[in-house]
C-alpha cells in the first residue's frame, strides 16, 4: 500500500501544508501561547523536506525515524519533542518494513500517539494536540475494524480530528503554555490539535 516513495511524497505534502498554514497556526498560538507554533512546524518540516530525496529508497522505519529525529533537532518548543517522539517511535514500530498496509499504518499512528502521551504526560481533554489525535485514532480504528477501505478510514479520522479541534475551544488548558491562561484559554482553539488535523487531512487527500 505505502512504500518509501509514497511515504516521502506524503511527507512532502505535509510539509507544504505546514508552510501554507504557518501564519494561521502562529496566530492561533498568539491567542493562548507564544506566537510560534506555525513557525516551529514550518521550520521543522522544511528541514524534513530537505532530507526526503535521500530517503525515498529507504524502508518505512528508517524514513519515520529520520523524520522524527529531524523534527526533534529543528523544532524545539513543546511540539518538537512531541511530534518528534511520535515519528521516532512510529519508526521503531515499522523497523525494516518496505511497505505499510492499513493495519501497519494504524499501528504506527497509535504508537506515535502513545509516544506523545508519554513524553507530554497528558491525556484527553487537556486542550492539546492529543484532543485531535485521540478521537482521530479511535475513529480510524473503529472504521478499520468494520473492514472499511483506507480512504473511508482516513476520512473518518479527519472528521474526528477536526471535531476534536473544535472541541478544544471549550476546554480549559491544563497542559502546555496555554495552561497559564487558565479560564482565559476558553474560546480559543488549540494550535497543536490544529496542526495534527492538517497533517491527517493531507494524508487522507492522497489515498
Amino acid at each position: 500500500m505505502v512504500d518509501g516513495k509514497k511515504l516521502t511524497a506524503v511527507l512532502m505534502q505535509i510539509s507544504h501544508k505546514m508552510t501554507e498554514q504557518k501564519d494561521y497556526l502562529t496566530r492561533l498560538d498568539a491567542a493562548i501561547g507564544d506566537s510560534d507554533h506555525g513557525i516551529n512546524m514550518a521550520r521543522g518540516f522544511e528541514a524534513v523536506e530537505k532530507k526526503l530525496p535521500s530517503l525515498a529508497d529507504k524502508d518505512i522505519g528508517t524514513i519515520l525515524k529520520t523524520v522524527g529525529m529531524t523534527l526533534v533537532s529543528t523544532v524545539g518548543g513543546a511540539s518538537g519533542p512531541l511530534y518528534g517522539s511520535a515519528f521516532m517511535k512510529a519508526g521503531v514500530a515499522m523497523a525494516g518494513k518496505e511497505d505499510m498496509d492499513l493495519s501497519d499504518f494504524l499501528e504506527a499512528m497509535r504508537t506515535g500517539v502513545e509516544a506523545v502521551q508519554m513524553r507530554g504526560r497528558a491525556g484527553a481533554g487537556e486542550k492539546t494536540m492529543l484532543d485531535s489525535m485521540l478521537p482521530a485514532m479511535d475513529a480510524m480504528e473503529e472504521e478499520a475494524s468494520a473492514n472499511a477501505q483506507i480512504h473511508t478510514v482516513l476520512k473518518a479520522g479527519v472528521i474526528a480530528a477536526w471535531d476534536g479541534v473544535e472541541g478544544t475551544k471549550d476546554m480549559i488548558a491544563t497542559k502546555g503554555r496555554a495552561s497559564y491562561l487558565g479560564e482565559r484559554s476558553v474560546g480559543h482553539q488549540d494550535p497543536g490539535a490544529t496542526s495534527f488535523a492538517y497533517m491527517l487531512e493531507t494524508i487522507a487527500s492522497m489515498f
Binding site: 501561547g33 506566537s35 518548543g77 518538537g80 497542559k175 482565559r184
Partner: protein
Amino acid sequence: MKKFINDVDLVEEQMIQGMVKAYPQYLKKLDCGNVVVRAAKKERKVALVSGGGSGHEPAHGGFVGEGMLDAAVAGAVFTSPTPDQIYEAVKEVATEAGVLLIVKNYTGDVMNFEMGEEMAQMEGIRVDHVITNDDVAVKDSLYTVGRRGVAGTVFVHKIAGALAEQGAALPEVKAVALKVIDNVRTMGAAIAPCTVPAAGNPGFTLGENEMEVGIGIHGEPGTHREERKTADETADLLLDQILADIDYAGSEVAVMINGAGATPLMELYIINNHVADVLKEKGIRVYRTYVGEYMTSIEMQGFSISLLKLDEQMKELLDAKADTPAWKEIGGKTHG
C-alpha cells in the same frame, strides 16, 4: 513591526554572533547552532548549563563566565532549544565533576532538556538538572503544569554558579540551586506587548488604559487584564501575591526589579523606590537590590519583581566574584 533587524530568519544567529563578537574575552560559540560557552573551559568544577528560547537577552548567554554559567543554549525566539543542541553544550563543558542543567519550567523546555540530558547520560556524562518555577502568577496545582520559571532563575545561575566555581560537588551545587528555587518568587505585569520577529505581529494588544498582569517571559498574555494603575499600585499588586506565597516575615531578601525589554531604567527605579519602602515597612530587610534587564521578553514594556529569601550561604554566594558580560561582582570584599 519596527525593529533594527535584517531578516526575521537570521535574528537568532546574528544576535548570538553579535554577542560573541562583543565579548570574545568571555564567550565562544560552538559551530553546532546557537550554543555559547566560556572562552576558556574551566576544568575540575561542576559545569552549569542553562538556556531557553532566544528573546530573553542578556539571558542566557550574558551570564556565561566566571562564577555563573559554563554554557548557554539558545533556541529560536521564545522556543526551547532542541535536545541535540543541549547535548552538544553539555558535551563541550562536561568535566569529571559533572554537569547541572538549570531549566525553566515550561513543557517545551523541560522535554527538550530532558532529552538532551538522556543523550548525554547515554555517553556516560554525569548530568543532573533542576527546574525553576518562581512565577507566583500561575497557581501550582495538580491540574496544571506548575508555576513557570522566570526572572528568579538568574539568582539560581548566580548562586549555584558561585558554589560550583568554588569547586563544590554536584549534589551540593544541586542542593543550593534547589534552595534558591524554594526561596525565590516572582511576578510581572506589562503595559505593551512584544512581537516575535518571524510572527510579525504582537502576541496581544492593549488599550491605553489596560495592562496585563501575571505575564510570562514569552510575550504571552498574562493571567488577567485590568485597568492600568500607577507604578506604586502595580508594584503593590505584584508584591501582595509574592508575599502571600512564602513567609518573608523578619527575613533578609535580595530584590530583583527586572525590565521586560522596553521599560526604561527610570521607571524601574521608580518601582524600586516603592518596593523598598513597602519591604521596610513590613520589616523585611533588603540585603541586595538588582535593577535592570536580566530576563527580558524582547521589547515588551513591563517588569517583574523577584524576592529571594536569603540565608548566610546564599548571601555569601550572591556577593562572590562573577565576571560575565551581564553580571559582574568584584567579590572578595563585602559592601556596606
